[in-house]
């Protein structure tokens, strides 16, 4: 431990804690534009706003990248420091366009907040805004490099946390600019649309494409029958936009809000997650117990992970579960099962998904299998952030809303469905059902604590009636390499497989930390949001997907049994190798 003084306050922190983090523990906020509080991101020391004075040192030091040392006596705020910080903020303004009113980050921008805090009323320096065009080639993650302040967060998260290398810095000095790899369009780059860049950007330089206009248009059209679904992770994050504590579960208020916005049926992706488990667990048993198909089986609920694998890990394609992601399953079931049952013309059905994710916007048109109903199965994808804005536009006092229920028959979910939003959740849900399918017995204890938590790679094994099932769970795409290499090594050496079943989610923490979630994500937030989901799981009377009576009804009335021909046609997909760079 290291002891020091910050503004006269005694602090004691573990070695290698930065001055910035140590100050935070003493309730002192040192402003910074480049260092994100998320521990996954490194300090780039790019912005220079976090300068502090250390007694006995003539130079001011950057708090973000200077470790606290024993006996340091630090001043974080005095008139000179504040005046220097103010000048730095003014310099940032000098090459930042004044487009706050129409910017995607208006009211939620770190630069704007600092300018407000410093009370800057005039622009002292001449304005030089670089003319770099906007890149909306992907249709989901939009780059606006003119608004970039070169903090380096997006490049760090893209290269080091996600190992995608779609974003980079080009050129040098004043001309330095954030750009897609090799100066091509983002859609031609290796980008997997995870949106972690957007989730960490301090300004409006990277943001999700706003599709709320499409959603409103569908809602306004009396000819359209609008159906909505919310993903597991949305329910424990949306509340943050309305002053709820981190991780608060606001599921039933969301149902109410959506109904008031004009949706004719409110469904829950958690239900579809239960269906995914029926298919995926059956697929696992086919491969594991009946040796039909290669092992390990790898989960495919995450579209960024699917894109990543199709670009970087072609050899793993046969290992991928062919089961579609839950929101795609919901889309196709709405336009077939629900349409038939309620005698609605599927051509008039609009399915709108609220997701914690920017990649889901891409997934809905990724291949022709996403139109298995004969129409595009999901029409519009909104992120959690977009839904928050729409609720505000609709004039809904969200915090004080009464709680309502979702609609039958695609709404009610099991506890297994809700934990899909956290890393390890899909695996846990699948194990609960696979156990029952293999043994025909009820699990004595449904929790699999070894697959929970934020460790980058979680390896464990489960005993199903004397047979060992080895599993691995990875989140944050940079952690995938290790897991896949273990498999490749064993394959090459002809050794027993290290794992039979692998779950991957692209974003750190899983969907609770998704690229479309409210800003400011840290491990503390990820943990609190995940806890919200696990609490929701515990609160359910039905904890396993196959026990969900509506799921049973769906198979009885419509699909037959898991992996049936009909299920295959509607609920499964294919994968193909893609080039890393499209030009």
């Amino acid at each position: 431990m290291v002891k020091a003084l910050i503004n006269g306050i005694k602090v004691e922190v573990p070695e290698n804690t930065t001055i910035l983090d140590a100050a935070r523990k003493a309730q002192i906020k040192i402003p910074t534009l480049c260092k994100h509080p998320d521990a996954y991101l490194h300090a780039s020391a790019a912005c220079g706003i976090c300068l502090v004075r250390v007694r006995g040192n003539r130079k001011m030091l950057r708090a973000c990248s200077t470790p606290l040392e024993e006996g340091m006596d630090i001043i974080t705020h005095d008139p000179e420091i504040v005046s220097i910080r103010r000048t730095v903020v003014e310099l940032f303004l000098s090459n930042h366009p004044n487009e706050c009113l129409t910017c995607g980050r208006n009211n939620n921008c770190e630069l704007q907040s600092l300018v407000a805090d410093f009370g800057i009323r005039e622009e002292f320096f001449d304005k030089i805004v670089r003319n770099i065009p906007k890149d909306d080639s992907t249709g989901n993650v939009v780059l606006e490099p003119r608004k970039c302040i070169n903090c380096g967060r997006c490049v760090d998260v893209c290269q080091n946390v996600q190992d995608v290398w779609a974003l980079t810095f080009l050129q040098r000095g004043f001309n330095t600019r954030m750009a897609p790899a090799g100066d091509i369009s983002l859609a031609d780059s290796p980008c997997v649309r995870c949106g972690q860049c957007a989730a960490h950007c301090p300004t409006g330089a990277i943001f999700e494409k706003d599709d709320s206009v499409l959603a409103w248009k569908a809602l306004r059209d009396p000819e359209q029958y609008c159906v909505v679904q919310i993903a597991p992770a949305v329910r424990v994050a949306l509340g943050e936009a309305f002053g709820f504590p981190i991780g608060a579960n606001v599921t039933k208020k969301i149902y109410t809000a959506l109904r008031r916005m004009g949706f004719k049926a409110i469904f829950d992706t958690n239900f579809a997650a239960d269906v995914t488990i029926m298919e995926e667990a059956s697929e696992f048993i086919e491969r594991f117990a009946h040796k039909k198909g290669p092992l390990p089986l790898i989960t495919t609920c995450c579209p960024s992970w699917v894109d990543f694998m199709e670009k970087f890990h072609h050899d793993m394609i046969p290992h991928f579960s062919s089961a579609k992601s839950p929101h795609e399953m919901m889309g196709v079931l709405v336009k077939t099962y629900y349409a038939e049952k309620n005698k609605i013309d599927p051509a008039k059905l609009k399915v709108i998904s609220v997701m914690p994710c920017t990649a889901k916007k891409f997934e809905i048109s990724r291949s022709h299998e996403m139109s298995a109903s004969g129409f595009q199965d999901v029409d519009v994808v909104l992120t959690t952030r977009e839904l928050a804005r729409m609720i505000k536009q609709a004039g809904i006092d969200f915090a004080n809303l009464p709680e309502e229920e979702c609609d039958p028959v695609l709404g009610d979910y099991s506890g297994a469905g809700t934990i899909f939003g956290a890393t390890g959740g899909v695996m846990e849900a699948a194990l609960r059902t696979a156990y029952a399918f293999v043994t025909g017995k009820k699990l004595p204890k449904v929790e699999f604590n070894n697959v929970r938590g934020l460790k980058g790679v979680k390896e464990t094994s489960v005993n199903i009636e004397g047979t060992e099932v080895r599993i691995a769970v990875a989140h944050g795409l940079a952690n995938v390499e290790y897991v896949l290499n273990q498999v490749r090594k064993a394959q090459k050496e002809g050794k027993p497989l290290p794992y039979h079943f692998i779950e991957v989610m692209a974003c750190p923490g899983g969907c609770v930390g998704g690229g479309g979630q409210p800003y400011g994500v840290t491990d503390e937030l990820r943990t609190a949001r995940a806890k919200g989901l696990y609490t929701d799981d515990e609160a359910q009377t039905v904890r396993c997907s196959h026990e969900n009576p509506y799921v049973q009804q769906l198979y009885k009335e419509f699909l037959g049994k898991p992996l049936s021909e009909k299920a295959h046609h509607l609920l499964h997909t294919k994968y193909q190798p893609l080039p890393i760079y499209r030009r």
């Binding site: 290398w165 980079t168 810095f169 050129q171 790899a181 090799g182 100066d183 290796p190 890393i580 030009r583």
Partner: protein
């Protein structure tokens, strides 16, 4: 160039640096010596054989002014912007050339004839303002002379073409 041949050539260059620390920049040097610039197809091939992301290759290429991403022009016009030349009107000379050639510094004319660049001090400040075309140095340049100087090089090309 035929893709297979290109791949073979690039591989040969890359192989000679394989496994050596900091090899990317050395490979790029050799690539540029060989082709006059670093073509995109070459970067893509390099990315694969060196197992370096394209992002990193472009970071290096665009960081160092030495590396080029476009073929060099037939004639490189270097306008001196060193202190003496600048005071004697180097900036105006550069501006006029930009106007005449319709390019910005660092760019090459559409016909591939001229590449315009700024340089710092060519070491003959007594001749300011100075510009250099290829290896030939022009001292005491006046704005009104520029048209003729360029025409000379353009003509040279035309004669070559007719011959």
């Amino acid at each position: 160039m035929d893709k297979e041949l290109l791949e073979r050539e690039v591989k040969e260059i890359a192989d000679s640096w394989k496994g050596k620390e900091g090899n990317l920049i050395m490979v790029l040097h050799q690539i540029q010596n060989r082709y006059g610039y670093v073509p995109r197809e070459v970067s893509l091939i390099l990315s694969e054989i060196l197992d370096v992301p394209l992002a990193r290759i472009y970071e290096v290429i665009t960081f160092y002014h030495f590396f080029r991403l476009t073929p060099p022009g037939k004639h490189t016009i270097s306008v001196c912007m060193g202190t003496a030349c600048y005071l004697k009107g180097g900036a105006e000379i550069l501006g006029e050339l930009e106007h005449l050639l319709c390019v910005k510094p660092g760019e090459t004319t559409k016909d591939g004839q001229f590449h315009l660049e700024m340089v710092r001090c060519l070491g003959c400040c007594g001749l300011a303002p100075v510009l250099k075309i290829g290896e030939k140095v022009y001292g005491g340049v006046k704005k009104k002379d520029l048209g003729d100087i360029i025409a000379h090089y353009s003509e040279e090309t035309e004669t070559q073409v007719t011959a």
